[in-house]
């Protein structure tokens, strides 16, 4: 299925693989006995062999490990291990020869267990990698393998290490490997170190020390160490509470900005223009599909720039949705001003058609929109809270879009005219506002903003014909809760709902959280029947 | 200040209605409103503040039973706001408003206030635009306005006659089947006055009843109000001095300015008051 696009990537992988190998080939060979385990049907033997390869710490062994991870290692019918190369060739690590791949050679299947062993094996070698990032990743992996046998390797690495962050990580890794095996002082020290790390991953080890075994004896014989372990546990728990709070705040803001983005376009088309725009969700969808198309075009024509497709997708999505919006406005909606409920009916019809159109063009299935590499992954803060890049980018993006919308509505006359038109269309016309043009532009703007939101949503969730339906209810709630026509209200409502949701969810689960939010809205509106930022006084009537 | 009376007038009112429609709006009755001291409305140091702006500033005023009181004053003096306070549309920031001796208006809803006998004509004519002229009058007509009695209500011949009379009076008989939204501005003004009459309130509040009427019609309205004088209590806000002179006769005219009473007296006194000329009449 992904036959076209990954080809460039595969090429890259192969190149990476081949390059070091040329250098290696002349250097070290790996003994056949070590390799023999790989040919076995038994995963335990494979793991032995992999571990042995890891301890060799020579580039030849490293190349094999790497090739294993990339499904590039074959075993022939007679049990010879080969690394596949370009053009049907294969390299024999035991002899250093490059031969034609024999018939019947079978790829060695790597499953999760083997992959884990592989990574651990590679980690030891990677502790000396020139790249700090690789070293850090390796240490983190070692931290999890609390295994006394690794202490020497880690200590050695610790001596050499310069980078303070990695140094700290190494210390923790060392602690995690000495906590079981070391002497009393070392164990005590290790408990402290682990406590300071705040990493909940160590909690079970520490907790186990405090437990008694079948004979009623503590697993950890020394009282001192037990005390240290207890302190460490408390420290970890405290840290985890902070992490949970920070996490919730981040999640809340991020959910809030998603709601905000989804609702912003509607804040214009519904909030300002008074159109109950049921096709708003489909405008989001069009934005997301535009992203998909741009991504596909990049894959086909600009594979080198693929990481930046998203930047190109923004203007494209904006324009496409704005044009669709303007077309809808000119053909259908323009006849319905002043009859808001009719707009509900018509836009509902439009939304059905748009959904089906997408189904006909792109299929009923979701399409794949990938995060560009700079939006993949996340940064770890406070030990084990991952703030994902895509969420951060989207928060920033939401702020930008709000800013732009605010500027357009408050710093250009468009906003003034739009508001005037919705309040008194006839009089706006009489004072000289070309209502038709302004309507078209405003609706186009609202639609375009929805398109931008679609780009953002494509980075978080699925891009499919139903994308819009998932957001339409939430969007309306946000706009209404904020007070129709109040941009600031929309922002506050979105953020408020996001936060509220994320603070309820850990306690009651996602389903109840959602129910609670909805009931909250019902109750809140009782208190503020015109939304959060309601206009007061005579003008409100 | 008791609130226990708030429900009282309601019940006595509904008895009134079930006793059969009164044929004319002329008869003056005080339906459970205690007017022993001769005044029907007391406003005491009412203040209304909108976001820091004092629309009414310690306003005190009382209206006698059967009195026709004209209120004038510059634009923005707070005349409409005062009516809003009396009818329950706006809650005063401070001060009290009593209907008769015992009914605290500030604690009541708009509909309750209307029910105990305070009717109002708005500055901008507000009628039910989708209803016919006839239906507008029918809706306004005095009767028990609870859900049940409304559901089962049928127009009696008498009531129908009364609507007919009012239509004649308003000169809208030929328009009675038209939707009120289609009337001209002046016609709507008339219709709203008609609705007010149908309500048969004890106290009528008229906010600029002749705005947008021709001089001849203004005069007619004046005559109508003079007719009502003595039978109802009336508060009339107007900027048309000829009209005010016509209806004020020798009665009291109150001048509001910046939310409180600036001057009070007969029309002649007020018109010659320097301050009134300065802020209101102009030279």
């Amino acid at each position: 299925m992904k036959s076209i696009y990954p080809s460039w990537q595969r090429l890259l992988l192969i190149m990476l693989l081949i390059l070091p190998m040329h250098a290696v080939m002349a250097l070290d060979l790996v003994e056949k006995t070590i390799l023999a385990g790989l040919a076995s049907d038994n995963n335990n033997e494979k793991i032995e062999s992999i571990t042995a390869l890891g301890q060799l710490t020579n580039p030849g062994a490293a190349a094999i490990l790497e090739a294993l991870g990339n499904d590039k290692v074959f075993v022939t019918t007679d049990g010879t291990i080969l690394i596949s190369q370009d053009g049907g060739k294969a390299y024999d690590p035991a002899t250093g020869n490059s031969i034609d791949t024999p018939a019947g050679a079978d790829t060695i299947t790597i499953n999760n267990r083997l992959r884990r062993a592989l990574q651990a094996a590679q980690a030891s070698a990677e502790l000396y990698s020139p790249s700090a990032a690789v070293r850090l990743a390796a240490v983190m992996r070692l931290q999890k393998e609390a295994d006394a046998s690794r202490s020497p390797i880690i200590s050695k690495a610790l001596e050499k290490e310069q980078d303070p962050q990695i140094k700290q990580a190494l210390k923790i890794a060392l602690a995690s490997s000495t906590i079981k095996g070391g002497d009393t002082a070392a164990r005590r020290q290790a408990a402290f170190t682990l406590g300071e790390s705040g990493d909940a991953g160590f909690r079970p080890i520490l907790a186990a020390m405090l437990q008694k075994d079948a004979n009623g004896k503590f697993n950890e014989p020394e009282n001192d160490v037990r005390l240290a372990a207890e302190t460490a546990i408390n420290q970890i728990d405290r840290h985890q509470t902070i992490v949970a709070w920070v996490g919730n705040i981040f999640f809340g803001i991020s959910l809030g900005s998603v709601l905000l983005l989804a609702a912003l376009g509607l804040a214009i088309t519904f909030g300002l223009m008074g159109i109950i725009n049921m096709a708003h969700g489909e405008l989001l969808m069009i934005g997301a599909y535009s992203t998909y198309v741009v991504q596909s075009l990049f894959k086909a024509y600009l594979p080198g720039m693929l990481d930046w497709y998203l930047v190109a997708a923004l203007p494209v999505a904006f324009l496409v949705t704005a044009l669709v919006g303007m077309a809808l406005e000119r053909t259908v909606i323009r006849w319905l001003y002043g009859r808001p409920l009719e707009t509900l009916l018509a836009t509902w019809g439009i939304s059905l058609m748009l959904m089906q159109a997408v189904r006909s063009f792109f299929g009923a299935q979701n399409v794949e929109v990938a995060n560009p590499s700079w939006m993949s992954g996340g940064v770890t803060v406070l030990g084990n809270l991952v703030l994902t890049y895509n969420r951060m980018v989207i928060i920033a993006f939401a702020l930008c879009v709000v800013g732009i919308v605010w500027l357009v509505l408050n710093r250009t006359r468009l906003g003034l005219f739009v508001r005037a038109i919705t309040q008194n269309r006839r009089m706006a016309d009489c004072v000289g506002v070309a209502t038709g043009k302004i309507d078209m532009l405003a609706f186009g703007l609202g639609a375009g903003i929805a398109g931008l939101a679609g780009v953002a949503l494509s980075q978080l969730s699925n891009v499919g014909p139903d994308l819009g339906r998932g957001y339409i209810v939430d969007s309306f709630m946000v706009v209404v809760l904020g007070g129709v026509g109040q941009l600031a209200g929309t922002v506050v409502a979105a953020m408020g709902l996001g936060m509220l949701n994320k603070f309820i969810e850990p306690f009651w689960g996602a389903v109840i959280a959602k129910i609670a939010i909805l009931l909250f809205i019902v109750l809140f509106v009782q208190k503020r029947p015109q939304g959060l930022f309601a206009p007061k006084g005579r003008s409100a009537e | 200040m008791t609130t226990s009376h708030t429900t009282n007038p309601h019940s006595s009112n509904s008895q009134d209605a079930s006793a059969g429609g009164e044929a004319s709006y002329g008869r003056f009755k005080t339906r459970g409103v205690d007017t022993t001291h001769g005044a029907i409305l007391y406003l005491e140091s009412i203040s209304v503040v909108f976001d820091g702006f004092k629309a009414l500033n310690d306003l005190s005023l009382d209206i006698g039973v059967g009195e026709l009181r004209c209120i004038i004053g510059p634009n923005g003096a707070g005349k409409t706001t005062m009516m809003d306070v009396i009818t329950g549309k706006t809650k005063p920031t401070s001060g009290t408003a009593f209907f008769g001796q015992s009914i605290d208006l500030t604690k009541m809803h708009e509909s309750q206030i209307a029910d105990i006998g305070i009717g109002r004509k708005f500055q901008r004519p507000t009628v039910f635009e989708q209803h016919t002229v006839f239906e507008n009058l029918e809706l306004a007509m005095k009767m028990n306005k609870g859900v049940k009695s409304t559901l089962f209500s049928r127009l009696s011949g008498e009531q129908r006659d009364k609507i007919g009379e009012t239509l004649e009076l308003l000169r809208l008989t030929s328009e009675y089947q038209r939707e009120a939204g289609l009337l001209s501005h002046g016609q709507k003004q008339w219709l709203e006055i008609g609705m007010l009459l149908m309500q048969e309130p004890l106290l009528l509040l008229l906010d600029e009843p002749v705005a947008g009427m021709t001089d001849a019609e203004t005069e007619r309205t004046g005559e109508l109000l003079n007719d009502l004088r003595g039978k109802h209590s009336l508060v009339v806000v107007e900027h048309d001095m000829d009209f005010v002179t016509q209806i004020a006769q020798q009665g009291k005219v109150t001048v509001l300015c910046e939310g409180s009473v600036l001057a009070e007296g007969t029309m002649a006194q007020v018109q010659s008051d320097e301050r009134v000329i300065e802020v209101y009449l102009g030279r």
Binding site: M353 | F134, E138, G146, T150
Partner: protein
């Protein structure tokens, strides 16, 4: 003057319907009522045979029509747009479903599968007595009515209007849907109730039972229409329209809109509940999907298509739209959304008063 004033009346305040309308109504009713007889008395293949499929379809549409009529009562007359009538419909349906669920079992104390999965050995309290038909019927009226009353009381008292009201009805319905989706709530989760067997001891799948259910729906719809007509033709109806157009003005005339709104709102919810209750035995399933936003919006669309504020329009609208949907989903399974969507757009653009508006325009032109 007396002569003149005797002629004065609000627009057609006389009888519920004009004699002509009565005649038309009775004729249409007779036509529809006779369908099951044709179904039962003529064998398949006979020219006069009406298929059971058609009967079940029309029966279902009748229930939809009733829901639409209920919605029109609040939306068309009192201007209260509910995006949550699916909730009342579903509640009525669940009430009936509970009864059917238990009446089909060998003993009403045997718990259904989904409770077994939850390891519940007996019915929870809110299921008590639902094995009795009359009690279930009571629930069908009371639960939607009470919920509407309580919700409406607070919402109307807070003077929530317009989109704000619509949105909270939507929020409430959505919340209820999520609640019912949960298995623990005790209503069968997503699967809801299916596989009904008997109603009042009769086999639910027999043509006779079907015919009776069909007639019951027709009767309920007619009663609802007459009730709705009586309400809207009364003075209360005119007060409601006044609420719709200028609620605050009405207060100054001495009407408290709260009571009026609450009255139609509750009546509407109850009618909707009855519609749901009649719907369930005919389609054989009730699940939280009935409370989905889409369903409630679709009801609004039936009303708008048929003609808002006409009572008869929503009935026509529900019939036409659902008929088209049934036809399209079979005839154009892959393109029907285009067709349906286009119809919605065209109706709004060219039939602003809905189908009834079109009919009125045509008849008026004929006269002119």
């Amino acid at each position: 003057m007396t002569a003149l004033s005797l002629n004065l009346r609000p627009r057609s305040m006389d009888g519920l319907f004009s004699p002509k309308a009565w005649l038309a109504l009775i004729m249409v009713l007779a036509l529809f009522a006779s369908l099951p007889i044709l179904n039962l008395s003529f064998p398949e293949g006979h020219a006069l045979h009406v298929s059971s499929y058609a009967i079940s379809l029309i029966g279902k549409f009748t229930c939809y029509a009733m829901a639409a009529l209920a919605l029109d009562l609040v939306w068309g007359y009192a201007g209260i747009l509910s995006l949550g009538h699916g909730l009342f419909f579903a509640l009525g349906g669940y009430g009936m479903g509970m009864y059917l669920m238990r009446s089909g079992k060998a003993s009403p104390d045997i718990v259904p599968d989904f409770m077994t999965f939850l390891s519940w050995k007996s019915y929870p309290w809110f299921w008590s007595y639902t094995e009795h038909f009359w009690y279930a019927l009571l629930l069908i009226l009371l639960v939607p009515g009470l919920l509407a009353f309580i919700f409406g009381f607070f919402a109307f008292r807070s003077r929530i209007k317009g989109v704000y009201f619509s949105i909270i009805t939507q929020a409430l319905t959505f919340a209820a849907m999520l609640l019912f989706f949960r298995n623990e709530t005790g209503f069968g989760g997503n699967n809801g109730f299916t596989d009904f067997k008997r109603i009042l001891g009769f086999d639910i799948t027999s043509p006779q039972t079907r015919a009776v259910l069909y007639w019951a729906s027709l009767l309920a719809l007619t009663s609802a229409l007459i009730l709705g007509r009586a309400i809207t033709k009364s003075k209360l109806g005119r007060v409601l329209t006044a609420v719709r157009d200028a609620e605050s003005r009405l207060r100054f005339l001495g009407y408290e809109p709260l009571g009026f709104k609450l009255f139609v709102w509750t009546v509407s919810a109850m009618i909707c509940g009855v519609a749901g209750a009649l719907y369930v035995p005919q389609v054989g399933i009730i699940n939280p999907g009935e409370m989905s936003t889409e369903n409630s919006i679709e009801m609004v669309i039936w009303v708008a298509t048929g003609g808002r504020g006409t009572l008869i329009g929503p009935i026509i609208g529900a019939g036409v739209i659902n008929g088209l949907k049934t036809w399209f989903t079979s005839a154009l399974p892959e393109f029907w959304l285009y067709a349906l969507g286009l119809i919605f757009v065209l109706v709004t653009l060219f039939l602003p008063q809905g189908i009834v508006g079109l009919i009125r325009r045509i008849t008026r032109q004929d006269k002119a």
